[in-house]
């Protein structure tokens, strides 16, 4: 097999990708705990190949407002990674990080400039630790670009990685992780290696000859 078809990923690939998701998300949780100086628990991530038409629903509704932090990946692996956080979780995390304590948030409440850079930093640290563990696991060199942030409807944010996956197939690899500190935080990773990188990744992990 020289070329990978994402629509025909067999169980073994799937398990490996899941394990990568697991380890990566574990490291991300540790990074988050250090950043927040609190204990962060993480549930076993759910890894799924999702049809484009069902993606929005998988994230709690197409019009659910989310913060999306998007970075491009360079080095041995090329592609992109996106970390998505529900609006409420994003507000809570930022408030915690900036020492604002507990307060309630209105739906659609905007993030000011300071809060936006805090969100970018959160995304940067979380995706960074995720990629770091992937890099250690595979011995591949992975670097990331500066983060870009958008706060919008889930489906609109997802259209960006979906378009990248769309060049390969009709499904997208979604890694859902729930972190909890005082309250539950729902976050999602979407890792989009380009096609040559997918093969490289699976080879490095010993799944593919």
């Amino acid at each position: 097999m020289s070329e990978l078809d994402l629509n025909n990923v067999d169980n073994m690939y799937y398990d490996v990708l899941k394990e990568v998701g697991n380890i990566g998300a574990g490291n991300a949780a540790t990074a988050l705990a250090t950043m927040l100086q609190t204990k962060v628990d993480m549930k076993v991530p759910r890894v799924e190949l999702v049809d484009f038409s069902e993606m929005g629903e998988a994230l709690g509704g197409e019009e659910q407002i989310m913060a999306g932090i998007y970075l491009q990946i360079e080095g041995d692996l090329k592609g992109s990674i996106m970390f998505l956080l529900e609006e409420k979780s994003a507000h809570e995390l930022v408030a915690h990080l900036m020492g604002q304590g507990e307060r309630t948030f209105e739906e659609g409440e905007p993030f000011d400039e300071m809060e936006q850079s805090a969100l970018k930093e959160i995304g940067n640290i979380i995706t960074g630790s995720y990629l770091n563990s992937l890099s250690l696991l595979t011995n591949l060199k992975i670097t990331e670009s500066v983060p870009s942030l958008a706060i919008d409807m889930a489906e609109a944010l997802l259209s960006v990685p979906a378009i990248e996956f769309g060049m390969l197939g009709d499904k997208m690899l979604l890694i859902q992780t729930s972190f909890s500190e005082d309250t539950d935080l729902n976050g999602y990773f979407i890792l989009v290696p380009d096609l040559p990188s997918y093969t490289k990744l699976l080879k490095a992990l010993g799944v593919m000859q």
């Binding site: 078809d5 629509n7 484009f52 038409s53 069902e54 993606m55 929005g56 197409e62 019009e63 407002i65 999306g68 998007y70 491009q72 992109s80 659609g108 905007p110 670009s145 500066v146 870009s148 942030l149 958008a150 706060i151 919008d152 409807m153 889930a154 489906e155 609109a156 944010l157 997802l158 259209s159 960006v160 979906a162 378009i163 990248e164 769309g166 060049m167 390969l168 197939g169 009709d170």
Partner: protein, 161 residues
Amino acid sequence: MAEMIKVGMADLKLCISPNSITTLGLGSCVGVAIRDTGNKVGGLAHVMLPDSKEIKNNTNIAKFADTGVEELVRQMEKAGARRNMMVAKIAGGAQMFAFQNDSPLVKVGDRNVMAVKKKLAELKIPIKAQDTGLNYGRTVEFYPETGDFIIKAVGKPPKTI
């Protein structure tokens, strides 16, 4: 009772008055709404990529601007719509994130919009209105009866084009 039909990403559907049709959260994708102004047969496509010929894995024709618009028009004609009575409205094609350098995603929204316009011109279907580009997501609702195309975005009042 009139119902609202939902179109997913990389999908297209027909809609005949008095029903209406919607697609949620268009980002860089483009929503193409077409109707026959006489018999009110309409439809909506949610296309993701400009050109089916650039991609090897292109079995889903609804995914691409070129094949998606063509297929929507074909299905509409089968349902009784006439080409010379068709008009279109389009929305979406935003750039959601600020990218640097040579990502293939730079301007994919713009390229989607251009590809849709090119295909509509080829099929001789005039564009009556559009709300495209910029950097935010859009939900659209289309009413083939009146041709109203309602655009909703986060933190903005809905508008009808």
